[in-house]
Symmetry: none
Amino acid sequence: MSHNAELIAVGTELLLGNIANTDAQMLSQGLSALGINVYYHTVVGDNPQRLRKAVELAKSRADIIITTGGLGPTCDDLTKNVLAECFGKKLVRHEESQRRIEEYFAALGRIPTENNAQQAMLPEGCTVLSNDWGTAPGVAFEVDGVCVVMLPGPPRECRAMFEHRAAPYLRRFAGGDILSRTLRLFGVGEAAVEQLLREKMNAMTNPTLAPYAKEGEVELRITAKAGSREEAQSLIAPVEEELRGALGPLVYGADVPSLEAVVLELLKKHGRTLGCAESCTGGLIAKRMTDLPGASAVFRGGVVSYATQVKHTVLGVPEELLEEYGAVSDPAARSMAQGAREVLGCDLAVSATGVAGPEADERGNPVGLIFVALSAPEGTWVRRIQAGGIRERARTLAASHAFDLIRRYLEGLPLELEELTL
Amino acid sequence: MSHNAELIAVGTELLLGNIANTDAQMLSQGLSALGINVYYHTVVGDNPQRLRKAVELAKSRADIIITTGGLGPTCDDLTKNVLAECFGKKLVRHEESQRRIEEYFAALGRIPTENNAQQAMLPEGCTVLSNDWGTAPGVAFEVDGVCVVMLPGPPRECRAMFEHRAAPYLRRFAGGDILSRTLRLFGVGEAAVEQLLREKMNAMTNPTLAPYAKEGEVELRITAKAGSREEAQSLIAPVEEELRGALGPLVYGADVPSLEAVVLELLKKHGRTLGCAESCTGGLIAKRMTDLPGASAVFRGGVVSYATQVKHTVLGVPEELLEEYGAVSDPAARSMAQGAREVLGCDLAVSATGVAGPEADERGNPVGLIFVALSAPEGTWVRRIQAGGIRERARTLAASHAFDLIRRYLEGLPLELEELTL
């Protein structure tokens, strides 16, 4: 039997346009991966009457209702109160949730307010979806063949709660096994990948293949539907093999969280330490590395040499070099990476220097021109990139190129980017 | 008379989560600026039955219905056909639109398909909203006191069509001017602010006051509705003054983009340069500073001293100090900030050192314990914070505390955080 879900987002900030309903997008993707159809999204404000109407309507046409938002202390737990009422359930105190909320605030050195305590009042007989990413617990229950799941609204919490709590709960409604595997590519544009694979993609029905562009990277998602997980896997494997053959070193991983996560694992595997010297990226390389728990095992640190003088005084880039070639140049990137290796005492160091904008530099280097270097015991390599005029995108790309250099070096791949042959 | 609108987005790609419904966000902002209330957003797929149900429902509860999507040749002009049917209108050929479509394709060196030609069939007696950004014309009409507006789905087209075609058409329904002003607070929790202001908020009708929690910060939005912009401003001003009085230095700005943007302006105004020394934040302070165009005027750089040894070798933190107190300590934070000022040659420097997790450190300091310091010519100050167990949140909070120290120092405010008195 095929199930159909309806998503109800609760929040006046959505109706005012302060935020987009990205929760609905994330949940729709997740439900689609479970083989559960989504027929409607509804957004209502923090208004009990209108929420009640939306719930009654959803009840009449969907067998899974997922709400987002309206669980926090500032909205009087609107969602929980209205849903409990619509499904004839009383709210009772949940001791475990009460304790978790108290602990959460104790860890912050604060005392929960009465509003916070209200969050531990949950519909009787429900499955509690414990929240390790915030204070409001999620809730799931089934009444008269309708399954209700309530999740918190903040996107970071909502995503984690769906992946780790709601999706496992909903797996019972999954329509067969749907399995996805995502190849991640760096160093090639979406349009080139799309052109290379278009005919193939159009001809495929199971598995399917879809490209997604994402912050200077491309994802290729292979999705198979089959009676069992093993069967789905055996449909995916030959497609993955063929794609890896066609795309070569552009593929940096499958089902991996990020380029920097791949780099961290490679550094650990090869027992190498890393440092960085950053100008235009201004700390972003170090930040992305240290976003990862466990980075301290291999990451020694970095120097953000934003002012030209700091490149000389801290990293030891010769003043004459900076005068002759300028801070945005192949020799400067090279010298920064070499300097970082020495100053920070690490095996490998990367550097980035470029014009992040908003204007061209005083030597006439255009916005978006960036040099990225890798220094290792065997030598130093530089990649020159033109990252375009959008500041944030240029910085992200520069940091990703630095990680790509490390990855290719540690995997023994060519450091030059490949051209795709059609 | 106050009008209320309902947004209906048509597109299976929304229900599959391939894209987020950003059109709804854009339209909600635009309608709010026109003083038109939005009570519901609905998303349906490319399915005539379900779209018809959504339209019938909207007709019963809204007096303005705005649809997005489903106007293109690939979906058989679903939206236009269903809406015309629901409102008892025939489709007739619109010569001007026919001509525009032919011209559009001629300019591309292509010939319109039969589907394209269908786009010139429009509901009889409607106002045509000509589309200079794509092929499908928009449509507006009124039947039995309900106003219907249909816009194309692609966000770029939808935005332009709303701003230049639909908004002028809808101005007749505008309910005066709506103006918002957002106070931004750092150093206090949402629940505490809510508890302090709850009674006041509940008693207010115009302007209204609403708090939002956002990455360790709180926003307070004051929204006024009035006959003119000036009148709305004069409603907001006394509320802002009262809030600033009650919240004191916790308010770091009104209608400002971020804490770091406020800090950047203050540094420029006072002619001071900044540097940083980062351990647990791992580059995030530098990254947030250099996210801002123009940061190079005051930001000299930073040292990411992730490994303890780098705190000594690059920042000059004495080894004995690190041995006696450990890297996560008041003296270490103090010495890091002082070292950064010297090494980077800047007027002010901030530092952050703490346990970002996932585990307590070898001295037993708990996850989330962080010391943040500011060093200035007159002295060095340290703030000890307990940022909780979520890595990303702890790092964001630590960086924000560093910016808050700089802000308070430059504004001559107390560096200690205030307790809110209820």
